[in-house]
């Protein structure tokens, strides 16, 4: 019975996934150029959010400086292409690796601390990256940022860039899913639930936290890199603490304990920014109110609520089966 239910669930997911892929593939053919651009940027941000959720949702940590890695990836790409004139594809690979390198250093000092202290320490490191970007004017252009990032011809049209980003984001979804489902991912989830219990099965907590932190920073860096590719410009806000807070909100809004929750969160964020932003400059207030309501009434986020309902119905079904 359980296997049959599992099979139906899997088929349901397969159907949903197929529909989503189809929708994403045909979207550029039916929507305006503005929306192609928006969807491309959303996909870039999804890489950041899904990567961050490795530590937040699956690792039970809340670092507050991931925008530093997002910004570092974006700036590395911009500087490598404009200042160093590095080949685009080399810069694309090296930019997230630069964020990963920074995360290894920052993580080494930070993951030994727990909860509040981890958040504050990573916030401080994140702001350090932001202040370097802001103040090192001769290199980064300070508040003016860097514009006119050159792209290779093959991805210079909106449609091609869209499909290129879709392929990168799709690859990231696959890799992150594999990481979550790997033995490492499963141990990480157990650590989230009860670190002490996991330590008493022989797991070095700090080592595993550091690896999760570094992996998530890689995806944050790649998200930032892709954002720079999509928008062709970078500004210090990308590394600001507000951006770090934003990614926490997207994960919690969508449901940090679900795989696709952050994607829903990003979609809500962009929708509010784009649609509500047309009518009011105070769209962030509405987002704030929505966030408060969600924390109060749907603490597991949108996808989390749906998942909890499914689990509850599974239990009800089991109960009714046991009665008959």
């Amino acid at each position: 019975m359980i296997q049959a239910a599992q099979s139906i669930r899997n088929k349901g997911w397969l159907l949903w996934a197929s529909g989503l892929v189809l929708l994403l593939v045909i979207s550029p053919l039916v929507v305006s150029e503005f929306w192609i651009y928006m969807l491309t940027d959303i996909m870039a941000y999804c890489i950041f959010a899904l990567g961050y959720n490795i530590v937040l949702g699956y690792g039970g940590m809340m670092p507050f400086g991931h925008a530093g890695f997002y910004g570092a990836g974006a700036y590395f790409l911009a500087l490598a292409l404009i200042m160093v004139r590095m080949p685009f594809w080399a810069a694309l690979v090296l930019a997230p690796l630069f964020s990963t390198f920074l995360a290894a250093i920052i993580g080494f000092f930070s993951v030994r601390r727990r909860a509040f202290y981890l958040a504050i320490l990573t916030l401080a490191f994140g702001q350090l990256i932001w202040s370097v970007i802001l103040k090192w004017y001769s290199l980064t252009g300070g508040e003016n940022g860097i514009t006119g990032i050159p792209l290779p011809d093959v991805i210079s049209t909106p449609g091609n860039l869209y499909f290129f980003t879709l392929a990168i984001a799709g690859g990231c979804v696959y890799v992150i899913y594999k990481i979550i489902d790997s033995p490492f991912g499963r141990v990480l989830q157990a650590m989230r639930e009860n670190p002490q219990r996991m330590e008493f099965t022989g797991v070095n907590l700090d080592q595993h936290r550091l690896i999760a932190f570094v992996i998530s920073a890689f995806f944050a860096g790649l998200g930032g890199t892709m954002h720079a590719v999509v928008t062709r410009c970078v500004f210090p806000d990308l590394a600001d603490w507000a951006k770090s807070g934003e990614v926490v909100i997207t994960c919690m809004l969508g449901g940090m304990n679900t795989f696709f929750g952050p994607v829903i969160g990003v979609a809500v964020l962009f929708f509010m920014h784009t649609i509500l932003g047309r009518f009011t400059a105070y769209w962030a207030w509405i987002l704030g109110v929505l966030f408060i309501l969600l924390v109060l009434f749907l603490p597991d986020g949108i996808m989390g609520y749906i998942q909890q309902s499914r689990i509850a119905s599974w239990f009800q079904q089991r109960e009714s089966e046991s009665r008959t």
């Binding site: 141990v187 989830q189 008493f200 022989g202």
Partner: protein, 246 residues
């Protein structure tokens, strides 16, 4: 011997909880640790397993000096434990909980490439069957009853394939029937798998029925050590702990 504790001392501020505990355990023994509240039983377990650092003294396990080792290193030596207050992975299923412990036991915690779903399935279900949770393998751990959570914690500890198990009140909060079942299971682990068992227990019936050796801890030091009948007939032990009714 598998475990040797030498003159172990532990203080919390001015409060001296362990005042020079020394004991040795032979392999495959089923030994109970008893004593009045505050005697230092749980603290002794916590220092042996690396949760607390002792102030003085030595702990040897399986021929190695494990004094001041990190808890995860001690666990890797196949010394497992359970806690007085049940300690499980609340939002994981029983299956996932035991699987995570098995992944750790098989040193695959850094494996990012293997598919995790279904990994060690046979072994996980075997362990859950052993503790009587085979039919609730996919239930979230927090939906289990108290006794079932204790069983799950035992399965998690067993997934480490331990040479020795330290059980802190394994039957607390259980009905008499269930206590018998758990103690019978613990004896089976010793008999069939050769696991050395060292357990703290307040249920004196269970202690005298199942233990082969009893160590009495009183005011942070070993007060008596012997066979159940010897402890039962020791007037000093009766005075400090058991009461005249025994």
């Amino acid at each position: 011997m598998i475990l040797q504790v030498k003159e172990l001392r532990k203080s919390f501020g001015d409060l001296s909880v362990l005042k020079g505990v020394s004991l040795t355990l032979e392999p495959k023994v089923l030994c109970a640790l008893i004593g009045p509240n505050g005697a230092g039983k749980s603290t002794l377990f916590n220092v042996i397993t690396g949760l607390f650092k002792g102030n003085n003294g030595k702990v040897f396990f399986d021929g190695r000096d494990i004094t001041d080792w990190e808890a995860y290193r001690i666990s890797s030596m196949k010394l497992s434990r359970t806690f007085q207050i049940v300690s499980i992975f609340n939002r994981l299923s029983s299956f996932d909980s035991v699987q995570a412990a098995l992944i750790s036991c098989h040193k695959q915690t850094l494996d990012l490439l293997t598919k995790g779903k279904g990994l060690f399935r046979g072994k996980v279900l075997q362990l859950l069957d052993l503790v009587g949770l085979g039919d609730k393998a996919y239930w979230p751990s927090n939906a289990l009853a108290h006794g079932e959570k204790k069983r799950l914690e035992l399965a998690i500890a067993l997934a480490n394939e331990p040479k020795m198990l330290l059980l802190d009140e394994p039957t607390s909060g259980m009905a008499p029937d269930e206590t018998g079942e758990i103690m019978s299971l613990i004896k089976k682990l010793r008999d069939e798998m050769g696991v050395t068992i060292f357990f703290v227990e307040h249920d004196m019936r269970a202690v005298f029925e199942w233990a082969e050796r009893i160590i009495v801890l009183h005011q942070g030091a070993v007060f008596a050590d012997g066979l159940p009948m010897e402890i039962k007939n020791d007037k000093r032990v009766q005075e400090i702990y058991l009461g005249s009714g025994v």
